[in-house]
């Protein structure tokens, strides 16, 4: 679709979305009214900037159904996002939303060369998070043969892959490497398998990981990007050019903003991605902060698609990392550590990804001037901070307590080893 026609479609859909959000979602109506804005004020795509950003906190405040734009009886499915603190985001789908998502994922899969003839092994868990069902419905809409294996025993993944002659693997890049390891342990050569395409997402990964996965599994690896809040694994995808991810601009309006000030940036500048849904019935979002840092490229792609491309997400705006599916945000960890009397909030988080079971170590130090009267008190403090962290993250955490000044000043708060 030529970009002028795309702009027209976006304007039509933006106005319809704004009109419905204002009529049906109290949160947005209140925001508009406070700012003395009316849906009529959105006469061009640029007017979108008059609205404030919507953050994950706003979604939490509406937990569970506060931001739904249709009555619950019209919602046919409910998903959640993973989150470390407070309530998760809750996302509803109407029957049309489910069909849209399936069609969109099918479109993305076909851009990677996947067809109805493929046998697709999905190693995202078909559960409350959006990735498993999103890919499942998309692959079925494409007419492919779908095996919803989920996570679990990598040896079984390899066995199924060999016996069922799987041609497409869908999952996290990390898990793909685990499967590659299991394949090598079983003494299998990737050439004995039928794999040809891998669709990987759910966590940031880079070109070196792509090369490793492609070599070890003998397939072409494609990056995909999505957010539970935006309906799942459908927001952007790589075409065979592998030069950025095409954003489904007929479904989402994308902007980049300064992650600190929230001020809009011009196309091409690196910033936080902000999305507005254009075709969601149950859960429309206006200017939703993704927390992901990227760049938008509107220049034409050699593949011929006119949808703009985003650079692969390199990091999150708040430097969060994902460990065993749980988002870890350093600033939140620091706040927790600082809440223990006698401890400095400064800490160092070490994520050890060398073994299959990823581990987290949190190095903390005594606040300057704190002189514990006895060793028992130190052990107590260590235990208290561990309890707090484990309660919040739901993961086992190792805590190392040091004297004031043990942590080098200016060192990164987060370190990953693999």
């Amino acid at each position: 679709m030529p970009r002028t026609e795309l702009r027209q479609l976006q304007l039509e859909r933006l106005q319809a979305t704004v009109n419905r959000a204002y009529r049906n979602v109290a949160f947005y109506r209140q925001r508009f009214d406070e700012l003395k804005l009316s849906p009529e004020d959105f006469q061009s795509l640029d007017d979108l900037g008059r609205l404030p950003l919507t953050g994950k906190d706003d979604l939490r405040a509406g937990y569970p159904y506060g931001l739904f734009a249709v009555p619950l009886r019209e919602v046919v499915r409910i998903h959640m996002s993973a989150g470390t603190t407070g309530s998760p985001s809750v996302v509803g789908f109407t029957a049309n939303d489910v069909r849209h998502l399936a069609a969109l994922v099918a479109r993305n899969l076909s851009a990677a060369g996947v067809t109805a003839d493929d046998v697709i092994q999905i190693s995202f868990e078909p559960g409350i998070f959006t990735a498993g069902f999103g890919f499942h419905y998309g692959a079925e809409a494409l007419g492919a043969s779908v095996m919803p294996l989920g996570y679990g025993n990598p040896e079984r993944q390899v066995r199924v892959m060999r016996d069922f002659r799987t041609t497409v693997l869908v999952g996290t890049p990390d898990y793909a490497l685990t499967i590659a390891g299991a394949m090598e342990d079983a003494g299998l050569d990737p050439h004995e398998l039928s794999l040809r395409v891998g669709i990987f997402g759910g966590e940031p990964w880079d070109e070196s990981v792509r090369q490793t996965v492609e070599n070890r599994l003998q397939l072409r690896a494609f990056d995909c990007y999505g957010l539970a809040e935006l309906g799942g694994p459908s927001v952007s995808f790589e075409c065979p050019q592998h030069s950025g991810l095409h954003i489904a601009e007929d479904q989402f309006l994308v902007e980049t903003v300064d992650p600190v000030t929230g001020e809009p940036l011009t196309a091409g500048e690196e910033g936080e991605l902000v999305f507005t849904t254009l075709a969601k019935e149950a859960f429309p979002l206006l200017r939703f902060r993704s927390g992901d840092i990227s760049r938008i490229d509107e220049t034409p792609c050699p593949c011929g698609r006119t949808h703009a491309r985003m650079a692969r997400v390199s990091r999150h705006a708040d430097d969060r990392v994902v460990v065993r599916g749980v988002c870890i945000v350093p600033s939140q960890i620091e706040a927790l550590v600082g809440s223990v009397p006698g401890l400095s909030p400064a800490c160092r988080i070490v994520v050890d990804r060398s073994s299959l079971l990823e581990r987290i170590e949190v190095h903390v130090q005594l606040a300057p001037g704190t002189v514990p009267d006895r060793v028992g008190r130190l052990i107590q403090m260590e235990a208290e901070v561990r309890r707090k962290l484990e309660e919040t993250l739901g993961l086992p955490v190792d805590v190392k307590l040091g004297a004031p000044g043990t942590l080098p000043a200016g060192a990164p708060a987060l370190e990953e080893t693999s």
């Binding site: 026609e5 027209q8 479609l9 304007l11 039509e12 859909r13 106005q15 319809a16 009109n19 419905r20 009529r23 849906p39 009529e40 959105f42 006469q43 061009s44 249709v70 019209e74 109407t94 029957a95 049309n96 069909r99 075709a279 019935e281």
Partner: protein, 244 residues
């Protein structure tokens, strides 16, 4: 490729603003339906496109050209034709003269032979018009008048046909026949913007559609999506409680 494009159009009558920023498009060769309750602004969209209602804001593009504020006769020469609600055929004129009047905008551009061929084509499409060729327009039944009105509009060889409630006031059989003829226009390659109060019937023949509420678009989608939308079903089809 969109033949007609509205970008945030505002229009109204006196102090009443009937359209409050409407954006929509009609793609070449497709039937696009405008749906909504009475007073939602559907007819005003058609009238704003034809220059019958002044446009207070926004723009209209036709065949890639900005036509905002163009006088109606100029738009008709560019290939726009409207069939108003109820058809509005000329009662004292014969069916044949009604049809010939439809070709008025082509004077000087088409030969008599071409017009005669088109007249023959209309009689082939709507056989009832051939039989009634010399009868006065007001002696036709409601359904026949509606067909005459559509045929009269087609005589101008429009690129875009604006149809306002073609089935209103017709008996069910006649309404179905009129809509069947509208669907057949797609085969001729005519682009249609259709306002129709019979939502289910309109979505049966349309490719895409828009739902208007008090002068604003609240839903946009393919006909299948709109048919499946609970909003549309609840508001216009009265079918929300099926199965309970």
């Amino acid at each position: 490729m969109s033949l007609l494009r509205l970008s945030s159009v505002r229009a109204g009558y006196g102090g009443l603003q009937a359209l409050r920023g409407v954006s929509l498009h009609a793609s070449e060769g497709e039937i696009t339906a405008l749906l909504g309750a009475n007073g939602a602004g559907k007819t005003t969209v058609l009238n704003a496109v034809c220059g019958l209602v002044p446009i207070a804001g926004g723009d209209v593009f036709f065949a890639g050209e900005r036509v905002t504020g163009y006088p109606t006769e100029r738009l008709v020469r560019m290939g726009l034709a409207q069939v108003p609600e109820g058809g509005k055929v000329f009662g004292e004129l014969s069916v044949r003269d009604n049809l010939l009047l439809g070709a008025y905008s082509r004077r000087g551009r088409s030969s008599r032979a071409e017009v005669r061929d088109d007249l023959e084509e209309m009689c082939r499409m709507f056989p009832v018009l051939r039989e009634a060729s010399s009868r006065r327009g007001d002696t036709l039944s409601g359904g026949e008048q509606q067909m005459l009105a559509i045929a009269r509009a087609l005589m101008s060889r429009p690129r875009l046909l604006l149809l306002d409630e073609p089935s209103i006031g017709l008996a069910p059989m006649a309404a179905a026949e009129v809509l069947r003829q509208v669907a057949a226009l797609r085969e001729l390659g005519t682009t249609v913007l259709l306002v129709e109060q019979n939502v289910a019937a309109a979505l049966q023949i349309a490719d895409r559609g828009y739902v208007l509420e008090v002068g604003q678009v609240v839903l946009e989608g393919t006909a299948a999506e709109l048919l499946a939308s609970r909003d549309v079903r609840r508001a216009y089809l009265g079918r929300d409680y099926e199965g309970i």
